[in-house]
Amino acid sequence: MKKLQEVLRDWEAVIGLEVHTELTTLETKMFCDCRLSHDDEPNTNVCPVCLGMPGALPVPNRKAIESIVMAGLATNCEIQPRSYFYRKHYFYPDMSKNYQTTQGPVAFCMYGHLDLEVTGQGAKERPDSTVSKASDGSYVAPIRILRIHMEEDAAKMVHVGGTEGRITSAAESLIDYNRCGTPLIELVTEPDLRTPEEARLFMEKLRQTFLTLGISDCSLENGSMRCDGNVSIRRRGTTEFGTKTEMKNINSFKSLHNALEYEICRQAEVLEEGGIVYQETRHWEPSKRRTVVMRVKETADDYRMYPDPDLAPFDLSDEFVERCRARVPELPDAKRDRYINDFGLKRADAAQIAGDPATATFFEQAVATVKDKVVPTVANVVVNLVPATKAVTSAQVASLSSLLAADAITFAQAREVLEVIDGTTMDPEKIVDERGMRQSTDTDALSATVEEVLARCTDQVRQYKEGNKKVVGFLVGQCMKASRGTGNPKLFNQLLRERLEA
């Protein structure tokens, strides 16, 4: 098969995503008061409602409705005051009533958008001629969101007997309804995505947004956030949509990218060889890096959708929506811009910190106690050193960053200090002093060392004077050795050059 970039020169990919997110931070299920927990023993958190027992009736979880409205506000959706829950019928025992309670044509949230900043290597997937790119190759892709609707998750089924746990050969299946009825929001994009990278970035941004809202733990790995990708391709310059296929079993950002990449290339190969792309659901096999057919859709499924008579309509008041709006915290984009404007952070660092609410909180706690000029150093530490640690506090990072910013320690030493204090309450200052790491910035003392080294390393001095300026690195090293690591390498470098140029 051809490579993606080659394919995308001739073909345009049209990608839409359907993203399901479980509202894992709630206490209870969508339509009953069973505890929301998937880790318990099978069928621990079940009641007549979520087991679909005859006579049981649903009552919607207020916090779930608030959560979806917040999700809609954070993704620039129009909140629809009037909407209904619908029943979507299909006979499969993972949905205890044999219908799923979901929403109809009108969802709580409609017509939103998220703007993606596509930068770096990923931006190259999109041919330059199809979008206006900045000088560094980056571009902005506005992605429309059709809707976000509220629904409930299905039970977990384990297929046993037969080979490899495959459904089709299993002798029987075991059902655990703990997950059945978990509040689930489904976001559907318009088919506005054009590259696998854009799809990956959209998912990432959505995850950052939902994490910031605190409505879900958004784990692709554990399935609390799931994504189906629809993709079709068409010849560049044409506007008619091709036949789309639907990608399932995507449980990482990498899988999303790779599955779409594979599928685009596969479709191109099929079409270029004069074949036909069938409308079908395909399963991504990460280990084999390919998609395989799950089922062919010959006709549209008929779910007999109709408004659920057991659930009163929704007529959300402005007041309700405004209360939700007031609870939407500062979102990643705004936070990133503030970090750039107020703290002078690099855009990439600012975006990375702002994208993860836990990191952003940690960062803001750390910067609260440091001088303004230390803030970029804090960002540097947070982005480059903290991720490798297990348990360091924001106070420790603040202290460490101040030392680093004052050139009292090197970056390498900072890493070493972090390793020592990780998981303890020790103050970095104390470690630095105890271990004699603190670098001297006393010019007189350092000059003495410089003189001693120059006197000893006559060969290198000569080489420098002959034009091999690189040799200064060796001399800095000698100075560091002579000072047993306590001298500041930047100052040594400066003093050596002054002395050699004189």
């Binding site: 209870t28 207020r62 384990v158 009163a312 007529d315």
Partner: protein, 105 residues
């Protein structure tokens, strides 16, 4: 247009009700009679008439708090499984799915 025997067979398949050939004949007769009875609905000009899905007046926005087991309805495992035709350990058991994957969700 009358429903044919094959139409009715398709509906029975969808509704997961196995009908015998004889039952299928009776059901086809019944379905056509019943649908005939519904014709008054189709004779209305309903332009601009809002549907009433719920006969509940202005009742709307009915929601509940997010408190676990607030109504004490959680079922013990033996009660949860007590009416099931087949179970295994703490789970409900069903025979082979055989490619029957339910719908898209």
């Amino acid at each position: 247009m009358a429903l044919t025997r094959e139409d009715v067979r398709g509906i029975a398949d969808y509704a997961r009700i196995a009908l015998t050939e004889e039952e299928l004949d009776e059901m086809t007769t019944y379905m056509n009679e019943a649908v005939e009875m519904l014709q008054p609905i189709r004779e209305y000009d309903l332009e601009g008439v809002e549907p009433t899905f719920h006969p509940i007046g202005d009742l709307s926005n009915v929601m509940a708090g997010d408190t676990p087991n607030a109504h004490g309805r959680s079922l013990d495992i033996d009660v949860a499984l007590s009416n099931a035709g087949a179970s295994q350990g703490r789970t409900f058991r069903v025979p082979s799915i055989l490619g029957d994957e339910g719908g898209d969700r």
